[in-house]
Symmetry: C2
Subunit: 340 residues, 2 copies
């Protein structure tokens, strides 16, 4: 398994065309490729796990907020794998690394483009989940963007997802008095209270998000971690107490939209309730990654911080996993396992 | 003129019915009333000037954000006047005071409900304008809510109005590198550059607010003072640079709306550009009033801070003045002069 392979034939997933609305299997193409020889300072990595994330849908728009994926080219995203050939002395064969060249079985990467993963701290896939960007998003939001204050009533949307499930648990550790989460469906809301320690779980598919938020937080919400957008952001604005804070982190509800979603009609409550809305892009907080890993790894190891993965097996099913994460099929982090 | 009058007959303006859309004269009723005798600790004030402000339109909604005005009762708002009868030893006859019992010619007020106005610092009406709540709004926004940073590119909407005109000048004094304002019509935009020192003035009635903002701030806007809402807030979100701040202070465009206005469709740029939106309600900053008065009065006196008033004469024309301020008929502070 870990013997050197110099120029392996392998599969890559390309963007065949830009999806309109919800992505369809035909939007993706599986392309056979041959990895090139690693050059000086480069390594060949065999990917073991890759991440599918809602932000990737934004990158598929020609006018998305990020440099978009190009049609006809291989997709990218977080992955972890093992060095199987190396021309970088400090990255010997067998080293486990994380990088951004997912959606393919093998990748040739410069040593500056990979991060060594400490598998003694946590299994490789956890470095894509709780210890990866989604966990870091929760940590940076609650410690840097809009820090939790002791006694806060905190509300997290998409709370059963990769970021939300960590955010809820972190809010509690950072001194929140009450932690409320919303998710879609009875199964996911049950996980919120039974596994992730939320005080109250709201199933937004019942259509009473605003009412149930008002019941759960009769004096209003101090801090919201907003990951859904649309009606969820409106509900968060309604639920906020005077002086409340809302971290605007995600808008998964809008990523498949074919045009701009309506904005929150109650936006003026920002003025009347003297709210603070603050956005975050996790890339700005990558320098915190080590701090977060060192804090979180022992908590994950002893079970005081819990993370869940929804695992799909095989690169051929990566599009399906990606479509699923946009639908909210996952509990915790949606991952694709490549090496089986 | 300043002789004691114990129970004067006088005019009050009542809310006859809740306006639908733009207020109409029939929404107001002029009622003859007789002021009661001042009790212990109370004074009788003859109002000289009163303020009409956009927030009053919000208070006319049954479901407005503030305790609404009651139908059939006298309206309230900022006013200045002279004590003409007193049962409070520290408020002798002849004292000029400000208070919140506008929309009437006389008011009986407890000493705790009035503030002595120093007419040596500035004429009485200036205490309703640059030294009053609208000027304080600009000052608190730019020093407390989202402080100006040296070198900022600042954008102010409704910039020819009472708050905007002070905000633009203050931003410059506090270190802004460039100050851009928008207003409706050629006359008002001319005042922005010629009188209030804005670098660039945009006439939004030309329908090119976004484009002209992008031209005026090619690297983006650091700090926006947003007073209009609706499309203006959307334009501010578009114009913001990464890490930019937007003070959400007013939404005059929506106050006459008969239903919720569409929210900003580009709200998710809060996340992608890592923006901070922060609301403010001036009532939370009333403790800064003395600090602001002491800073601003000498600047107003020597002309280094300029303020304008649009004056309507006579309480009978107060509804007209109020309707006008919602239409943007004013340059600077819209005031009603009562004592002529």
């Amino acid at each position: 398994m870990s013997s050197p392979v110099s120029r392996p034939h392998h599969l890559e997933v390309h963007l065949a065309r830009r999806p309109v609305g919800e992505p369809r299997p035909e939007d993706f193409a599986f392309v056979r490729a041959t990895a090139r020889e690693p050059g000086d300072g480069e390594v060949l990595v065999r990917n073991a796990w890759m991440s599918v994330d809602p932000f990737m849908r934004e990158w598929m728009h020609a006018d998305g907020y990020a440099p978009p994926y190009a049609v006809g080219e291989v997709l990218t995203g977080e992955a972890v794998g093992e060095v199987v050939a190396s021309r970088s002395a400090d990255l010997p064969i067998g080293t486990t690394v994380s990088h951004f060249a997912g959606w393919r079985e093998y990748a040739v990467l410069h040593r500056d483009a990979v991060t060594v993963v400490d598998t003694a701290l946590a299994p490789p896939e956890v470095h894509l989940g709780a210890l990866g960007s989604t966990g870091l998003t929760a940590y940076a939001t609650l410690t840097r963007v809009l820090p939790v204050r002791p006694g806060d009533v905190v509300y997290v949307s998409a709370a059963a997802g990769a970021t939300g499930s960590i955010a809820g648990q972190l809010a509690r550790r950072l001194g929140a008095a009450k932690v409320i989460g919303s998710a879609g469906g009875a199964a996911k809301t049950r996980v919120l209270t039974e596994e992730f320690g939320f005080d109250t779980a709201i199933d937004h598919t019942r259509g009473r998000l605003r009412e149930e938020l008002a019941e759960a937080a009769p004096d209003g919400v101090d801090l919201t971690v907003e990951l859904v957008g649309g009606e969820h952001l409106e509900a968060a604005l309604d639920a906020a107490r005077t002086g409340g804070r809302i971290a605007v982190v995600g808008a998964v509800s809008g990523y498949n939209a074919t045009g701009p979603l309506p904005g929150p009609a109650n936006i003026f409550s920002v003025a009347t309730k003297e709210l603070t809305l603050r956005g975050m892009a996790v890339t700005s907080y990558f320098p915190l990654a080590r701090e977060w890993t060192e804090l979180a790894a022992p908590l994950l190891a002893d079970g005081s911080l819990r993370s869940r993965h929804t695992v799909v097996r095989g690169l051929s099913r990566a599009p399906e996993a990606f479509i699923g994460v946009l639908r909210g099929d996952n509990t915790g982090k949606m991952l694709v396992r490549l090496d089986i």
